[in-house]
């Protein structure tokens, strides 16, 4: 097939600088919105996924399987869980973490009328064994009775303050008292990244409770499994325990937020559809003025397929440039941005799959936006095209 040279397409782009700029901006915006939507879905999904290789089991109050914040179990549950054989240990310390999970109003300024509801987790030092994904990046773990806090990486987004405001030595106000930040932690792509950790007994004092929300234990694969935990729960009916793996718990949370993700996906599709229709409109207007050119090319001897391909090249150059700009912007600006949701927060994720979706959407936009008007232009008989 005799084809049009590639520079024919590139040179045609400069015929109308205004139209070119408009198409480029439009393509960039649509691709950026698709990237933002994909990063939202990806970030929300990743924060609700347990870390890879997780072999933790959660003991909750019976009937509270869908929300650890509503769960209450007795303090002795932690000791009872310790009787399971097959628990992971290190230097004689079993991987058992008794915890209290609660959302409380946190103020950065005592003059604030209302603080922001922030997830707090009361823990003992064994929590760092069970939650191996947590890393203390600055400072140290808080000590009980000293009004100290350990703050996650996304808490600044949760509280609506710059990250520097939550540096070591800074003060937060909880329950009318000052709490000093002695450590910063990161647990990327987990709900923990949006939490404030506080010594277990301190949180129990604040919340005026003498029980736990849950006990989380790490099992050694091959030595113990969820069945061992369920047997214990069945034998200790007095403790009124429900048991599930941490993976199952987060899967339950993920299903709960599935409608939100579906809504975001639908919005992204609508935005993309709008972009396609806008592109169609622009292309029809652009090609309408080139009908005679198309007829001339056919008279010269170029087949219709070659003309279609050349027009698609023009459209793809614009859309791919827009997609690349949008991808760079998305990666530079959106990646890691904290988004508040429910009682916590998660970070937007702009990684390879998200960029691939965005760039793919941009290229698809270029194809779908150009093909119909191109074919429409070529349906005219050559003679009629030359006279237009």
């Amino acid at each position: 097939m005799r084809g049009l040279p590639f520079d024919y397409a590139t040179r045609n782009l400069g015929r109308s600088p205004g139209r070119l700029a408009g198409a480029l901006v439009g393509s960039t915006l649509v691709t950026l919105l698709v990237i933002a939507s994909a990063s939202f879905i990806r970030g929300m999904g990743a924060s609700l996924d347990p870390p890879a290789g997780n072999s933790n089991v959660i003991f909750l109050g019976a009937g509270s399987e869908e929300s650890v914040e509503r769960s209450e179990i007795r303090m002795q549950a932690a000791d009872v869980v310790g009787t399971i054989s097959g628990l992971r240990t290190r230097l004689g310390q079993p991987f058992i973490s008794p915890e209290v999970h609660i959302g409380l109003a946190v103020r950065t300024d005592p003059a604030e009328p209302e603080g922001r509801l922030t997830p707090l987790r009361g823990v003992r030092p064994s929590a760092f064994l069970v939650h191996s994904e947590v890393q203390i990046t600055e400072g140290r773990a808080p000590v009980a009775g000293a009004n100290e806090l350990l703050v996650g990486g996304l808490v600044s987004g949760q509280l609506g303050v710059p990250d520097a405001r939550l540096g070591l030595g800074e003060v937060l106000h909880i329950d009318g008292r000052e709490w000093r930040i002695v450590g910063r932690m990161r647990a990327p792509r987990t709900v923990i990244d949006a939490e404030i950790w506080i010594p277990l007994t301190d949180l129990q004092v604040i919340a005026q409770r003498d029980n736990l929300s849950c006990v989380i234990a790490t099992l050694v694969p091959g030595e113990a499994d969820i069945t061992d935990a369920e047997i214990l729960a069945a034998q200790r009916l007095d403790l009124e325990l429900a048991v599930m793996t941490e993976s199952e718990y987060y899967a339950t949370l993920s299903r709960f937020y599935a409608p939100v993700r579906a809504m975001v996906l639908a919005t992204a599709l609508l935005v993309a559809l709008g972009g396609i229709l806008g592109g169609l409109n622009t292309m029809v207007a652009a090609f309408a003025s080139r009908v005679r050119e198309v007829g001339t090319l056919q008279v010269i001897g170029y087949p219709r397929r070659a003309i279609i391909l050349s027009f698609l090249q023009e459209s793809w150059i614009i859309s791919s440039c827009g997609a690349l700009v949008a991808g760079a912007l998305g990666w530079a600006v959106l990646d890691g941005v904290a988004v508040r949701f429910s009682m916590g927060a998660f970070g937007l994720i702009v990684d390879a799959p998200v960029l691939a979706i965005g760039v793919g959407a941009g290229l698809g936009l270029g194809l779908l936006g150009a093909l119909p008007p191109t074919i429409h232009c070529l349906r005219l008989p050559v003679g009629q095209a030359l006279k237009s």
Binding site: E230, A234, D238, A242
Partner: protein, 172 residues
């Protein structure tokens, strides 16, 4: 042979592959004792409440009860289930319980006081790794009579190692 220099190494590789690759050992689920499910109800059965009040650790007991009182009656993957006293009423769907057998319309403290844990153990004294659901017509809300020995007994804990189970209604 046309290409002997390829055949022999290929054969060797095949033999090595067969020697190294072992089919994964399938651990069969332990089977239940053949005499576990009884064909006629044992005599002198007492209610869960009565047995919990009077039986001591190590006693042989005959308990009449119903599979009710907890959202999860059977432990998946283990020969363990919850036996409730027949006085615990299963709830109607309009009462808002997740399942009829979780009996949420009865206060949980009352349900716990009227419940026992039944397990079928192996030689190591641990529950066998096979679910009892559906075995011997066992299912939620069935009325059963259990023969066994009290293996754990403390405040709030009552565990019986079953040697015989009669399911009322049989295979229905």
């Amino acid at each position: 042979m046309r290409h002997p220099r390829f055949v022999i190494p290929l054969l060797l590789l095949t033999l090595i592959g067969c020697a190294v690759e072992e089919s994964p050992v399938q651990t069969a689920a332990p089977d239940l004792p053949p005499s576990l499910f009884l064909t006629s109800p044992p005599a002198n059965a007492r209610s869960v409440a009565e047995v919990k009040e009077s039986a001591a650790l190590g006693d042989e007991v005959v308990i009449a009860g119903q599979l009710v009182g907890n959202r999860q009656i059977f432990v998946e993957g283990a020969a363990t289930f919850i036996l409730g006293d027949r006085s615990i009423e299963a709830c109607h769907p309009e009462e808002g319980c997740d399942t009829p057998w979780d009996a949420c319309c009865t206060p949980i403290t009352e349900r716990r006081a009227l419940s026992a844990t039944i397990q079928v153990v192996g030689e190591d004294g641990k529950p066998l790794r096979t679910s009892l659901k559906g075995r011997g017509a066992l299912s939620e809300l069935k009325q059963v009579v259990v023969v066994g020995k009290v293996s754990q007994r403390s405040e709030g804990v009552f565990v019986v190692d079953a040697s015989g189970i009669f399911v009322a209604g049989g295979d229905s």
